[in-house]
Symmetry: C2
Subunit: 340 residues, 2 copies
């Protein structure tokens, strides 16, 4: 027969040590007031009973928490960028005895809302969110209700909030500048979902690079619909069918890059001789591609770390002015753009 052992509680420990539960609680929380003798007795009782504090009861009772529970809302767990972010957050949480609840809402605002509700009623101590869009009312409400919230990857247009994100414009600028310096004159840009702020920033970087190097911008080869693989395939097809075909493509994220690569491969075009490519998002398999992919590296791990640091701060002083952390990107130059 399998029955759940009744786990040791404060009461168990208290009677074992011959003290009240209050005293046990004091020992657990390191209250210096308890006599050394009692402390030892209690500690012994804790050991022998195998007591572990019940975090649920702790969370219900106290507002002043050291072992935190963090809610994390991720738009797409399949995207390796977010996986890096998660790892950064999780590393820090682990080091501080905190736990992380992850909700992966797959870019679906309805699902995002459900998760917010769940996490709220789990009374998590704070949220880290990549809002599904710039005007995300559910996240706004969360903040207005006094919850600690840090945004990653994208901010909120209506509200001043802690944000940690990449320097998207600069990253795009560098990528395109690299192509221009290699002699490319006709560079297409496959953008992500135009509704997402990062998309716009990357477009801005693309244009800025053209301006900076005195190259004309052709709006017809800046195209994008959604931020996924399919969209990458479709738009690459359109671009490759153009009478005046671009010599290079700059893709706005790793899924678009994959779509582009697959299409180029199918049409048996040589990279970089016939078409060069540089992508936003460096991924761990970029060096195993043939040829290895030149890519804009976002420091996802660091973004995650900064986000949770900010969140801890925000929990401690809710009135601190919102911070805006911009994390640098890095252009990883490999062979997919060719050499000069």
């Amino acid at each position: 027969m399998k029955t759940a052992k009744t786990v040791a509680s404060l009461k168990t420990v208290a009677s074992l040590a011959g003290v009240s539960i209050a005293t046990v609680s004091r020992v657990l929380n390191g209250d210096p007031v308890v006599k050394d003798e009692t402390r030892l007795a209690v500690q012994r009782a804790i050991k022998t009973s195998g007591y572990h504090p019940n975090r649920v009861a702790q969370r219900l009772r106290s507002t002043n928490r050291s072992k935190k529970l963090i809610g994390l809302l991720i738009p797409d767990i399949q995207n390796p960028f977010y996986v890096d972010v998660i790892r950064g957050i999780e590393e820090y949480a682990y080091a501080n005895g905190s736990a992380v609840v992850i909700g992966n809402f797959s870019q679906d605002p309805k699902r995002e809302k459900l998760y917010i509700d769940i996490l709220r009623s789990e009374s998590v101590d704070g949220f880290i969110v990549a809002p599904s869009h710039g005007k995300d009312e559910d996240v706004e409400e969360l903040i207005n209700d006094g919850h600690a919230v840090v945004c990653i990857d994208r901010g909120l247009s209506n509200l001043n909030v802690d944000v940690v994100k990449s320097d998207n414009e600069k990253g795009a600028f560098n990528a395109v500048a690299h192509l221009i310096k290699l002699g490319h004159k006709r560079i297409a840009h496959i953008t992500g979902d135009p509704a997402i702020p990062t998309t716009q920033e990357r477009i801005a970087g693309y244009i800025a690079a053209h301006k900076h190097y005195g190259l004309r911008v052709d709006q017809k080869i800046i195209k994008g619909k959604e931020s996924n693989f399919i969209s990458g395939v479709e738009i690459t097809k359109q671009l490759l069918a153009l009478p005046e075909r671009p010599t290079a493509i700059f893709t706005a994220n790793n899924l678009l890059t994959l779509g582009a690569l697959e299409t180029i491969l199918q049409q048996e075009l040589k990279i970089p001789e016939e078409i060069a490519i540089v992508g936003f998002d460096d991924v761990y398999w970029a060096t195993s591609l043939n040829p290895p992919l030149t890519a804009v590296r976002q420091h996802g791990f660091e973004i995650g770390q900064r986000a949770i640091e900010l969140l801890y701060q925000r929990i401690q002083q809710p009135d601190r002015l919102p911070a805006n952390v911009i994390v640098k990107t890095e252009l990883m130059i490999r062979r997919s753009c060719g050499f000069k």
Copy 2:
């Protein structure tokens, strides 16, 4: 000034509706005993007060939970296979109003233990675990203490427990058989960490295929140290340096595959003409590789789904006999092995 609004509780709703908290609770839980009139009044009060049940209090009080909290222990969140598993679990959880707490322990048993402790004291309703090794005492203890546990990817040697995993041996068999049928006679196998059960099963499949087709097994070209990228690089180098070089490599997971690919690329060997490759783990970027990768597909999403289904069952009837679910694999034939 930013102060947390005091959220509505049963008490708020009760006084608003002019009933007792017990009645409100009954309405919330769909108890048919309440009069329609009162039910309506209460529902109105719930609406206007914006009440959401506090899951922490619910969890503290009752043992009979419908909205579950599931603890998920993942060895390596960077591995896309586990990401698929997570998605499967999470999809089901979402559909049932449950939440998932993820702990990513990065193959570190100490970290695994910490997470188990945390999740335990968060009183999660059940655990889904990929044990860090076959004799995982922490997981065993969990089960012995009466918790609901389902293992994925690997079982427990000492204990009979619900397990969901791929048919590793068959998958490996098919991959190697495919190579043999294409005419390869000297096929190397880069294995994962020999301590992990799946590694052994895949080796068994490799050998079985050789036996089945009357091919001699050369133990010298079955090599492996760890299950990571570095190991893939190292062992591929050794294999390629062999006087009698293999014509094909079968890699035991996606990270090893990447290591192998990078090495082959660096040595400028042509795939599949000079060296063919087939990998365990199909990944979403396999079709964008040049050439596209032939791979054994594990149905991670389904594995996740089956696991959480089993977990729900186990929670409801703790004494049910442990199930052992084997999920089929599928060989995705692409161009990295060449054509006949």
